[in-house]
């Protein structure tokens, strides 16, 4: 089974302090550590599990500048076989559509039974690229996939809806699934697979290699644009209880009592 996995290198911002940069349209990226986008990691693991079951190869694709190689190598160490990085300075500041357009162009040239992507990127949270790629490639898709079963070229998948409800859908491959976290347990790479990964070549494809016009990629090819970034409005803030643990606990206990909870 030939599987393509789309990966994104994202900054770790959950615990970090982020500041808007001087352009007002991006964040200061100086002191941020980067990692594989969380749901992409699950997508990769799912691909590797399918490969282990059916044989074949897992091809990693990522659109990003040279630093992205680091993320692709992590993916190669975790079971990816081949890695392709798409980059051109003209790809910068792509929105969801432009990103999907470039990825789809590259994937179209590949042989695949499945394309797996994460369901959402933790940086921009667009949730858009996977489905757009499916539409551009003209293949069926499913989103927020929690379970993949494949038999004789037919995929039955479970998609997570709101409230814990699951929708079960079936389609022929080739198909694209956007993968939800928790579908599996992503593996650690071993030193052997890390060593093998360092030796693998990462192919880089530019705008010209892909046969694209500059107008269809990057900021030019984007349908939406970030005008500016602002901190969220403070709005209704909580009444913050101050003091040492004993003090705040006492106050909170009073509040619970006032509300009739004790």
């Amino acid at each position: 089974m030939e599987i393509v996995v789309c990966m994104k290198r994202v900054p770790e911002t959950g615990d970090a302090e982020i500041a808007v940069d001087s352009t007002g349209r991006d964040i200061v990226r100086d002191r941020l550590t980067y990692d594989i986008n969380e749901s992409d990691n699950y997508a990769l693991e799912e691909a590797v599990l399918l490969k282990e079951k059916f044989g074949g190869t897992v091809t990693l694709v990522s659109m990003g500048p040279p630093e992205t190689d680091e993320t692709l190598r992590m993916g190669l160490a975790k079971g990816g076989d081949v890695a392709v990085r798409l980059w051109d300075h003209r790809f910068a500041r792509s929105d969801g559509h432009a990103t999907a357009f470039v990825l789809a162009k590259a994937i179209r040239e590949m042989e695949f039974d499945l394309v797996l992507t994460g369901c959402i990127a933790t940086d921009d949270g667009r949730t858009q690229v996977g489905v757009t790629i499916a539409a551009l490639l003209g293949i069926p898709h499913a989103t927020y996939v929690m379970k993949v079963d494949i038999e004789d070229g037919i995929a039955t998948v479970q998609s997570e809806l709101e409230g814990g409800l699951i929708a079960v859908n079936r389609m022929k491959t080739p198909a694209l699934f956007t993968i939800q976290t928790g579908i599996n347990e992503p593996r650690y790479p071993s030193l052997i697979s890390i060593k093998k990964a360092t030796a693998k070549e990462i192919r880089t494809l530019t705008l010209d290699d892909l046969g694209l016009e500059a107008s269809s990629a990057g900021e030019e090819g984007s349908k939406t644009k970030i005008v500016k970034l602002t901190p969220p409005p403070v709005g209704k803030r909580a009444e913050i209880l101050e003091g040492a643990p004993e003090v705040v606990s006492a106050r909170l206990t009073e509040i619970f009592k006032e509300k009739g909870m004790i």
């Binding site: 559509h97 996977g130 489905v131 069926p140 409230g163 909170l252 909870m261």
Partner: protein, 324 residues
């Protein structure tokens, strides 16, 4: 300028809240721009929703077809594209939900309409549309503009807009469904998540934990707190992903929506997927060591502190109060 369209979302015989939220906002935008508001209802045997939609919209386009009975992104898109092509609405709103985000990017790509997703606000200025989205888990807002195009598409985050009634009586127009091919993706069935022993949606008091509790071993301490308040233990998604609690304890967009009298969020940062599941609680208390955690925007009371230090003392104080 032409209409504003809102795609109604329904599932298993119920109209979903996001529809009314979008219609309320849509009405506001429509009145602001001086254009009609049209609700689009796709399905099979869903006439009974049309009246509700008509109380907001000037027109309800009702497309009834057996193949539209269950949501399917291909059939929905195949029904919508000709409609949008024909009617050329200026702006179309779809819910940023599991269904919505399944169809909107397809629609955007096939019909070549620019799309901004997960918008928490949207406004029209002359012929242009601007949206606001959250990035980096809610730490920053991004104001987004669209490239000039005849139509715009946006998916709207649930619970972003308050609802109100308009009491209008729009026209319900039954519209023919374009010929639909058999979709490549076949819907088989819905499956409920396995029921657990505890129904957190029925609890008056919920104490929920998030990644901040760091280890599974902290759960008993939190469970004790929940018990001492006569409540139940719940959690955010990462706790379920880690296998520490079963799925039926998850509060959030992909879990349960709860509206208890008291919701205590411990070590939960407040990502919107979680917030959306507990926003409606009467009183929300948050304990988190990060003063900038988005959860403090939702909470009524907050403690910025180390939960490993606060929980034991809180447990003590409650025990004291109960015995004293």
């Amino acid at each position: 300028m032409r209409d504003i369209f809102v795609l109604a979302e329904h599932r298993r015989g119920e109209l979903r809240d996001i529809t009314i939220e979008m219609l309320t906002k849509g009405r506001e935008l429509a009145e602001c721009c001086g254009v009609p508001l049209t609700a689009v209802l796709l399905g099979h045997g869903v006439d009974r929703f049309a009246e509700k939609l008509a109380s907001y919209a000037d027109t309800v386009v009702l497309i009834d077809h057996p193949q539209l009975e269950n949501f399917n992104s291909e059939t929905y898109q195949a029904a919508l594209s000709p409609l949008l092509e024909d009617r050329q609405p200026f702006l179309t709103l779809i819910g940023h939900t599991a269904f919505g985000i399944d169809v909107a990017p397809r629609l955007s790509a096939q019909s070549n309409i620019p799309l901004a997703t997960d918008c928490i606000d949207i406004r029209c200025e002359d012929d242009r549309v601007f949206a606001v989205r959250q990035i980096y888990g809610g730490k920053l807002n991004a104001e987004v503009s669209y490239e000039n195009a005849p139509q715009y598409l946006a998916t709207i985050r649930p619970a972003s807009f308050p609802v109100r009634e308009y009491g209008l009586k729009g026209e319900i127009v039954r519209t023919d469904c374009p010929a639909l091919k058999t979709p490549e993706r076949e819907f088989l069935e819905y499956v409920e998540a396995p029921a657990g022993e505890v129904d957190i949606t029925q609890a008056d008091v919920i104490v929920a934990v998030g990644r901040g509790i760091k280890e599974k071993e902290t759960l008993p301490l939190v469970e004790e707190l929940a018990k001492s308040l006569g409540g139940v233990l719940a959690c955010s998604r990462p706790i379920v992903d880690a296998g520490w609690l079963p799925k039926d304890r998850q509060v959030g967009s992909s879990g349960k929506t709860v509206k208890p009298k008291l919701y205590v969020a411990i070590g939960i940062s407040g990502a919107f997927q979680h917030i959306t599941g507990m926003k409606g609680s009467d009183t929300i208390v948050a304990i988190n060591k990060d003063p900038n955690a988005p959860v403090f925007n939702e909470a009524d009371y907050g403690i910025v502190g180390d939960l490993f230090k606060v929980l034991p003392t809180l447990k003590e104080k409650i025990a004291e109060l109960k015995s004293g």
